[in-house]
């Protein structure tokens, strides 16, 4: 672990483990969920030991994600409060995507885009959990009337697809923004990186100095 002054700490080991547990269970959930989504994805069932195993494992993985995502929610909720500056940031988001960040207001530990993503993911997660329980035939579906099961099927498919799209965006942002993956892997970022991408957070951490 690097301790020289060029680096500052961004995520603790617990936060990192938590994040990657969420990431791992999410990827497995997305791949297994897609098996039921459309025949084009049905062959993915081979990754889980066949169709029946995919059907058995998907909801169990869902429970794992629920717990790990719940913990991550508690950890990161504070850093994702949307402020007036964030609204300003969102107004300039298009310029940012176009590669021009001169007009971007200073971002906190998470920028406004990351914060919006966070809350959208929370919304998807809640919908997926509630609807997922309703369509879990082995244990719960018999508790609900047919109309509720039908509604939950629509909601689950829609929220699942929405969440997959959001995470695709999330993954691309981490590839596009160089060195950001390092923060989640090793916990440290370079001072210059912090100032470039999260200036308000950088000032707060360093007490306004360099």
């Amino acid at each position: 672990m690097k301790n020289d002054s060029q680096y500052i700490s961004r995520f603790t080991a617990a936060e990192r483990v938590n994040h990657w547990l969420v990431a791992l269970s999410f990827i497995l959930l997305a791949l297994s969920g897609l098996v039921f989504f459309h025949p084009a994805f049905y062959p993915l069932n081979q990754l889980f030991g066949g169709g029946v195993w995919t059907r058995i494992l998907h909801p169990l993985l869902g429970v794992l994600l629920m717990v790990s995502f719940g913990l991550m929610f508690v950890r990161f909720r504070e850093f994702n409060r949307i402020t007036a500056t964030d609204k300003e940031w969102l107004r300039h988001a298009r310029e940012m995507v176009a590669g021009d960040d001169r007009n971007m207001p200073e971002a906190d530990k998470f920028n406004a885009g990351q914060k919006v993503l966070f809350w959208l993911l929370v919304a998807c997660m809640v919908l997926l959990l509630l609807s997922g329980i309703v369509i879990w035939r082995a244990y719960f579906s018999f508790l609900f009337p047919l109309v509720v099961i039908r509604l939950a099927s629509v909601i689950h498919a829609a929220a699942g697809a929405g969440m997959i799209a959001l995470i695709m965006g999330h993954i691309y942002m981490s590839i596009w923004t160089k060195e950001s993956t390092d923060a989640m892997l090793y916990g440290q970022v370079r001072r210059a990186w912090a100032k470039q991408h999260h200036a308000a957070w950088f000032r707060q951490i360093t007490g306004g100095g360099k």
Binding site: L146, S153, M168, W176, K195
Partner: protein, 292 residues
């Protein structure tokens, strides 16, 4: 039930044509409720032919036994004591089971390729070896027919004796019925015969007699002759206008392939964004400023 067949019309979760070189004539089973005496011979014959023995249940004060369809009871006699007109008690007995819809909700909902099959003769059949046990067919069926087994997590329902029919025999229930209330033949013949029965019933004072062949599911391959066709609900909740509802259509409709396409477009869009704009790096200015 799996039989090698070349007359498959539709196959669940399959986007290319199934083997369908052989075309057979459309068949149907006609259940004339006005002739049924509720003896349950058909229910027993179904058990016997399919070699299924449900557990012996308990009497709950009505003739319905077991109380509901299940993985071992594919057809069930349901007894309704109703007064369509005040003071005129009628005992309406309906043989419940799969209706073999022309547009089957179970097949549409099923995510497992080849777990639900529709033959060109109209029979809708489950091929349990392909079933993954998700229960989507239960969600999709407008008649509440398929049952998920607690023991093996496969779904079961009436096969219309696809095995017997493939060998040129009539379904077991048809063969057994002592009053001739259940008939089997081409759908055309069955509709013709049913029309004659309706005329007869009308002449005997059942002004609203009619054929149950609901068009909301494209028609069915199990038909009823009802004394009160205007009120199918009287017959233990037979749906009056069944169809694959808006929710199931949305869930299983065009949105899904379009969403799948959208995933591909997001991936391609991201890739080309990278190629066009290049990576988002720390600016030289800040690098210089913070150089240690």
């Amino acid at each position: 039930m799996a039989l090698q067949s070349l007359d498959i019309k539709r196959r669940s979760a399959t986007t290319t044509p199934p083997p369908g070189v052989r075309k057979t004539v459309e068949l149907a089973k006609l259940i004339d409720i006005s002739k049924c005496i509720g003896c349950k011979a058909c229910q027993a014959a179904c058990m016997e032919w399919n070699d299924l023995r449900d557990e012996v249940g308990t009497t709950t004060g009505v003739y319905d036994n077991p109380r509901d369809l299940n993985e071992k009871t594919w057809t069930l006699m349901r007894y309704a004591e109703v007064e369509p007109e005040r003071g005129k008690l009628e005992w309406l007995i309906r043989k419940d089971g799969c209706m073999h819809c022309a547009d089957p909700g179970c097949l549409k909902a099923c995510p497992a390729p080849g777990a639900v099959i529709q033959y060109s003769n109209g029979i809708v059949d489950f091929h349990e070896e392909n079933c993954i046990g998700c229960g989507y067919c239960v969600t999709g069926c407008p008649f509440n027919i398929p049952r998920l087994s607690r023991e093996d997590s496969k779904v079961y329902k009436c096969t219309l004796c696809s095995d017997r029919v493939a060998a040129g025999l009539e379904p077991a229930c048809v063969k057994t019925c002592p009053t001739g209330a259940i008939l089997f033949g081409t759908k055309e013949d069955m509709l013709h015969h049913a029309a004659g029965r309706v005329t007869d019933l009308k002449s005997r004072g059942f002004a609203k007699a009619g054929i149950y062949d609901p068009q909301g599911v494209g028609g069915t391959h199990v038909l009823y002759v009802l004394q009160h066709a205007d009120k199918p609900d009287l017959y233990c909740g037979l749906p009056s206008d069944p169809s694959i509802g808006p929710m199931v259509s949305l869930w299983k409709g065009a949105v899904k392939p379009l969403t799948s396409l959208a995933f591909g477009m997001i991936a391609a869009g991201a890739f080309f964004h990278y190629v066009i704009k290049g990576p988002n790096r720390v600016s030289e200015e800040i690098e210089k400023e913070l150089e240690p």
